[in-house]
């Protein structure tokens, strides 16, 4: 056996690491060509005047300094911040409350869970079109409902209250968009429901024995136990709100409605890159956006140390 083995010439085997690399090479090539290289190039372009049609001209930090004087840049920072500050906390509270309700034993639970989740699978464009009509100042369902409430009030008081021009008035654009953001909280609700299922029932039983009421049980048992999931959803929310684009773009057009009230960071970045032909400035905005998201995420983690409770494994 050993003699015959010695006489057969075995094919040369590649080392394991080379074979492994060969198998992951499609991903590596994709990563380098479509992620690492563009990210690196965008950093370079952010320090140039670059129109895409002409070679870039090195300008150092000019694009970054220009942002300080760019009124629209500060406008989109303001809009995005306000949107994030209002939509994320309210969305979080709302989705936790709905998750708690969906975690209780009620009739038609499956229907309610589906009703909360189904909107998240509706394509954004279709949802935006539907909401445009809901928000319509003249014919919209929302104002129709408001009118039925306001009509008797007006009749009694002799006033002339009417539903707002949601998307046509600078003052109402942001509330409309925030209201619409709750349309897609189903995804967070599903995650919260899963987290609630994971809370040990012995903790509730112990709390009950100690005489803790329903609110107390939620506050002292449920909230700490699902706090890592809340943290996760808040961070995802921060990232998503700083990248909001499609819905306001569809509902309000390229300039974000009257007085740019619904003009967000990513919309301005896109406009700078393509319609305005200032790819260098757009790249610098993208890097600032990354820094903002990283900073906010880092701050959230730091603050979360006080509020988030991690169970021992």
């Amino acid at each position: 056996m050993s003699a015959s083995k010695g006489s057969v010439k075995r094919p040369r085997r590649l080392p394991e690491w080379a074979v492994g690399l060969a198998f992951v090479s499609p991903w590596i090539v994709g990563f380098l060509a479509f992620l690492a290289l563009p990210v690196g190039l965008s950093l370079y372009y952010s320090m140039t005047q670059y129109t895409m049609l002409e070679p870039p001209i090195w300008t150092g930090l000019d694009n970054y300094l220009e942002m300080f004087h760019d009124r629209v840049f500060w406008k989109v920072i303001w809009n995005t911040t306000i949107y994030a500050l209002i939509a994320i906390p309210i969305g979080t509270v709302l989705s936790v409350v709905i998750a708690v309700l969906l975690n209780s034993r009620v009739r038609f639970l499956g229907f309610f869970r589906a009703a909360v989740f189904v909107p998240t699978i509706v394509p954004l464009v279709a949802a935006a079109m539907v909401w445009m009509w809901l928000f319509n100042g003249e014919l919209g369902l929302i104002n129709g409902a408001l009118d039925s409430v306001l009509r008797p009030i007006n009749a009694v008081l002799g006033t002339d209250f009417a539903g707002p021009n949601w998307l046509g008035s600078a003052a109402w654009v942001m509330p409309a968009l925030i209201l619409m953001s709750f349309w897609s909280i189903g995804q967070a609700v599903v995650i919260y429901v899963a987290a609630l299922k994971d809370v040990p029932t012995v903790l509730y039983e112990a709390a009950e024995l100690d005489g803790v009421g329903t609110v107390g049980r939620f506050w002292h048992v449920t909230a700490p136990m699902i706090s890592p999931v809340i943290l996760f959803n808040v961070i995802v929310g921060i990232i998503n709100t700083w990248q909001i684009f499609a819905v306001p773009y569809i509902m309000l057009g390229t300039t974000g409605g009257p007085n740019r009230a619904g003009y967000f960071y990513s919309m301005y970045l896109y406009d700078k890159a393509f319609p305005y032909g200032e790819m260098g400035y757009a790249c610098s905005m993208a890097w600032v956006q990354l820094m903002i998201i990283l900073t906010l995420t880092g701050l959230t983690f730091v603050v979360s140390k006080k509020f988030v409770y991690y169970r021992a494994a």
Binding site: Q49, T51, G137, G140, D160, G168, P258, N259
Partner: protein
Amino acid sequence: MTHDGRFRTISRRGALGALAAAGAGFALFGPRRAGDAPAGRTVIDYWEKWTGQEGEAMRRVIDAFNRSQDRVWVRYFATSAIDQKALISIAGNDPPDLVGLWNFSLPAFVESRAVTPLTELDDAYGGEISRDFAARGYAHDFRIRRESYTEPAWRIMHHRGVMGGVVNTCSSMAYYYDRSAYREVGLDPDRPPRTISELDDHAERLTIMSGGKVERSGFLHREPGWWNWLWGYFFGGSLYDAATETATAASPENVRGYEWVQSYPRKYGAQRLVAFQSGFGGYNSAQQALLAGKVASVLHGPFLVNVIDRFKPGFDYGAAPFPVAEEIYDPERPIGLLESDSLCIPRGCPHPREAYEFLMFTQLPENIEALAIAHAKPTPLAHPSDDFMRRHPNKYIAMHNKLVASPRAFPKPLTRAWPQYESEFNAEIGTMWELARQAGDVLADIQHRAQRFIDVVVERRERRYGSDSPAGEGTQT
């Protein structure tokens, strides 16, 4: 999975073989470039923005060209956001042979040398193509010449002295009104307003209010809302001085124009008008405000008749040059917005000679007129044919032609900074309409910001090309 429930592992050789087979299958049976070009022809790709009825009209011109000879085959691709896609394809060094832009896109494409100056191509191939056209039975000695076009149309083919594209269709905007509404309130439908004060008077009589709501607006600046920047022109203003590369948004004429715009929400209630307008349907629908009787008059283009023919064929419409301030009224030199679609040949396109041959073909009078008729637009040609005038679907085509030829026809300001400049108006028109600020203050802000955009463009151009940059033509736009 094997019968004992374990996953069967695939060998490396098997995996590589499967990958190779997939690759070969893709290469052999994968997607092919669309098109049915006959063998032996040079295929040229033409990107255009038109679909539907307008796209079909262009396809007929292409079919005529493809039939007229056996060397070149034009392939038509309709796409949205064509300026951005053209920009990316040219930047990626893979441009189509022809691209249909707008005249206001020309400054960016010309200044960055992204399109081939047509005079270069004409010098190289024009004579030869012209002889070929004559041999094929088309006009004798046909060339793209100044004398064929109206002066404004010829002007917007150029930017800073460079001929960047030809006009394949153009449009002039005018005052469109509902003649039956005029009759209903005792106005003469054959006597549309000529001056702004007449328009205000007509608008007031045509407006119907009921229960604190607007039932019908006599005239609404924000319908269809495509040209938020032009109201100062009807008072003698302009937005840009090309000679000095200066933004002039805050000129007294423009301020007057926007104070006039603000007089409407002031009179009828800003929020009331915004709510009223939110109930309008889209432009290309039966619920469009003019067709639905929501507004009695609007600023619009001649192509509106295609929508009328489609959704309300019997609609009794009238059209006239848009009213202007009394002191600048001159019936022989009407004022109106001139827009055009520009057919360009990108720099670095694979087949410049063939592309120029097709471009010249589109400029044959019969093709320009056929396209203009199908699009319901006026002609950029200086001398329209009788057949064109007879067959045109818009009964006011003579008025539109006159606007196109008028020395006071104005295009969008021809500066590379225009997209940003225009976005300022689009963002601020709501501020003015809601009466949140005075027109003069808003325009001063717009002018300040626009000048900054223009300065960046100028600085960038000088830094990049220095004295080699094309000369300005010194016109106010």
